[in-house]
């Protein structure tokens, strides 16, 4: 657990006017970006990653985490007002949020969403603060065999939870491993898959990969969609203040949904997209009037909103403690940690407690600021959706190119980002998970290094992965994660027509 001595200086850093201004500014930007359907945290975070280069690690991580939270907040606004979720994390919010908006209670629904997100976010952050040190402490027992198995389990969970075909999730993950192995091999110094290129000898850098896979590929999809604007509407009706009070009448719903979100967030691969629907369905099942769900009732907005924000904090738990990203955005977040020379895991919790506590205090403050900003700015945020795509797409491109270039001032980094963008665009088009690719890309060096170290420590025996208690448990979990979903699918009775 963190001592009080680390919290006070952390609060001092967060409450510096520059950092408060940053949190405030990023909250507004995140809310606005999140409001744009289709442009969620996975597009926003990569663009902001390079901005953190020159910053201290603590404020840098706060920037990324606030952006993550605020884009998730913003995504709910468009779900309520336009019936188009800004991100998949808010998809279930449409079910009751949009009917409320149609009944002239759009402002009320937004108020409910803001307060539920705030409480959900707070419960999630409490989970992050109290559970992380326990998990990190447990991670101390990990040796190379455990790290290898953990990387494999993380990848299997993410690949098998990828949208569409599980097999395609594995192909994408495998491709990520291979792309990551391009360059000088860390064990032998031998150049792999470089085809004589000096640029490739250094390996493919993380930032161009992230910007290409998520920001550029999204631009290509936007351009291809042929739409003129993201939406034709831009209005808000109903009183937000009435909505802000509502969640306090449904505290049981808020707490239950937040805990579901937190629990789902901790499992790698299961993101807020799963959390919001699970919480919504759980609430409908627990309700005395399940038939009212979908007609525009407060519980239908509270459940997904509390869960998706709790899930954001939950996804950071495996990222910070074990170095296994909880999902796509958490993988980008982990990229941000690594850029600052920090290694997630026990080391982060012992040697860099100051950075972590700064992050936690920053998140708590940001959660409150988001509630205030979101409530005040929602009516204006609605106007953002009328920005023409012809202006929006080039703006994202310009930001992406600059963000890629400033890292190392290398023209070939921009080319790499464009190539990753094209690959990402076609992967999405043909149902391959770009998230699985990125997670594998990040985990590959850890997995490969741990694999060799484990085998060397065990005098060349591969049994070490199965016979060590924690590693063996992880192996069993990996096998279960591989075989259970198809088995359950096969034996599940078909629903009566």
């Amino acid at each position: 657990m963190f001592s009080l001595e680390t919290w006070i200086p952390a609060a001092g850093i967060v409450f510096q006017w520059q950092n408060m201004a940053m949190v405030f500014g990023v909250s507004i930007i995140g809310l606005t970006i999140g409001f744009l359907p289709g442009i969620g945290p996975l597009t926003a975070l990569p663009l902001f990653l390079p901005i953190t280069y020159g910053m201290q690690p603590g404020p840098a991580l706060i920037l990324l985490a606030v952006l993550y939270m605020s884009t998730t907040y913003g995504g709910s606004l468009s779900a309520i007002l336009l019936n188009t979720p800004g991100t998949a994390a808010s998809a279930a919010t449409c079910l009751d949020g949009y009917p409320m908006a149609k009944q002239g209670k759009g402002g009320v629904a937004i108020g409910i969403s803001m307060m539920s997100s705030f409480i959900g976010g707070f419960i999630g952050l409490a989970g992050l603060i109290f559970l992380s040190p326990i998990i990190a402490d447990f991670a101390l027992k990990f040796q190379p065999a455990e790290y290898f198995m953990l990387a494999v389990l993380g990848l299997v969970l993410i690949a098998s939870s990828a949208k569409g075909s599980v097999l395609k999730g594995f192909i994408a993950g495998g491709f990520g491993f291979i792309v990551s192995s391009i360059g000088m091999d860390m064990m032998t110094g031998y150049s792999r898959f470089t085809f004589g290129s000096t640029y490739l000898k250094g390996g493919i850098p993380l930032v161009p990969m992230i910007i290409g896979l998520f920001a550029f590929s999204e631009v290509f999809s936007l351009i291809e969609s042929g739409e003129r604007t993201i939406s034709e509407k831009g209005e808000l009706s109903g009183r937000i203040i009435d909505g802000l009070k509502a969640p306090f009448r449904y505290l049981k719903t808020v707490v239950r949904s937040s805990l579901i979100g937190l629990g789902i967030g901790i499992i790698p691969g299961e993101g807020a997209a799963v959390a919001n629907f699970t919480a919504y369905l759980a609430e409908a099942r627990a309700s005395r009037r399940p038939e009212d769900f979908g007609t525009g009732i407060p519980e239908g907005v509270i459940a997904p909103e509390a869960s998706n924000n709790a899930c954001v904090a939950g996804a950071l738990i495996p990222t910070l403690t074990l170095g296994i990203p909880g999902g796509g955005v958490a993988a980008v977040f982990m990229g941000g940690i690594m850029i600052h020379g920090l290694n997630p895991g026990f080391e982060l919790f012992t040697r860099h407690q100051d950075i972590l506590t700064t992050l936690f205090v920053g998140l708590l403050v940001a959660n409150l600021l988001l509630l205030i900003c979101g409530s005040l700015l929602s009516p204006y945020a609605a106007k953002v959706t009328v920005i023409p795509i012809n202006i929006l797409a080039p703006t994202i491109v310009a930001l992406g190119v600059i963000s890629t270039y400033i890292m190392r001032s290398q023209i070939l980094d921009v080319v790499a980002a464009i190539a990753a963008g094209i690959v990402g665009y076609y992967m999405k088009k043909y149902g391959y998970s770009t998230v699985a690719l990125l997670v594998a890309f990040i985990l590959s060096p850890i997995a490969e290094k741990s694999y060799y170290q484990a085998v060397l420590l065990a005098d060349g025996s591969y049994w070490t992965f199965a016979l060590r208690p924690i590693s063996g448990t992880l192996l069993v979990l990996t096998i279960l994660a591989l075989i259970l979903p198809p088995l359950l699918k096969k034996f599940r009775k078909p629903e009566p027509a």
């Binding site: 020159g54 097999l167 091999d185 032998t188 031998y190 080039p394 921009v414």
Partner: protein, 144 residues
């Protein structure tokens, strides 16, 4: 599948420690791709017998694909603009050029948005972050 086979053969020349892991992954990709191909063929067969539409994968629209290629070209053009004119002028010209060529015809709005976005980007990257960005070959030549 072909790419995996090619890379697998390529990796056979590497020292043992450098090749084991990539080859392990490549074998996994080959096996999974094979399974995916079998699944795909099975689904195709079922589809032809039941006459169902393909709803899993988006259909490729050649006209829209051209737009994507066009956007890729525009990214290179932006980079060229940035090298030639520096960040501020480069981004302003790019936003005008790309907005217009992508079909946006309200010139006043286009100029207004280009000015606002340029000012925002300049403030963030050049003034606040003091990032090292190209100053612009043309301006360097003029300035001597």
């Amino acid at each position: 599948m072909l790419l995996s086979i090619f890379l697998f053969i390529l990796a056979s020349d590497y020292p043992e420690m450098a090749r084991t892991f990539p080859r392990l992954v490549l074998v996994m990709i080959m096996v999974v791709t094979l399974l995916d191909m079998i699944n795909l063929m099975r689904a195709e067969k079922e589809k032809t017998t039941s006459g169902e539409e393909n709803d899993g994968i988006e259909a490729v629209r050649p006209g829209q694909q051209l737009k994507v290629l066009y956007m890729v070209a525009l990214i290179f053009i932006f980079f060229l603009f940035m090298l030639l004119f520096g960040l501020a002028v480069g981004i302003f010209l790019f936003l005008l050029f790309s907005g217009w060529t992508l079909g946006y015809r309200r010139l006043k709005m286009l100029v207004f948005s280009a000015v606002i976005i340029t000012a925002f980007v300049y403030l963030i990257f050049q003034v606040i972050m003091k990032s090292f960005l190209p100053e612009g070959i043309i301006f360097t030549l003029i300035g001597g």
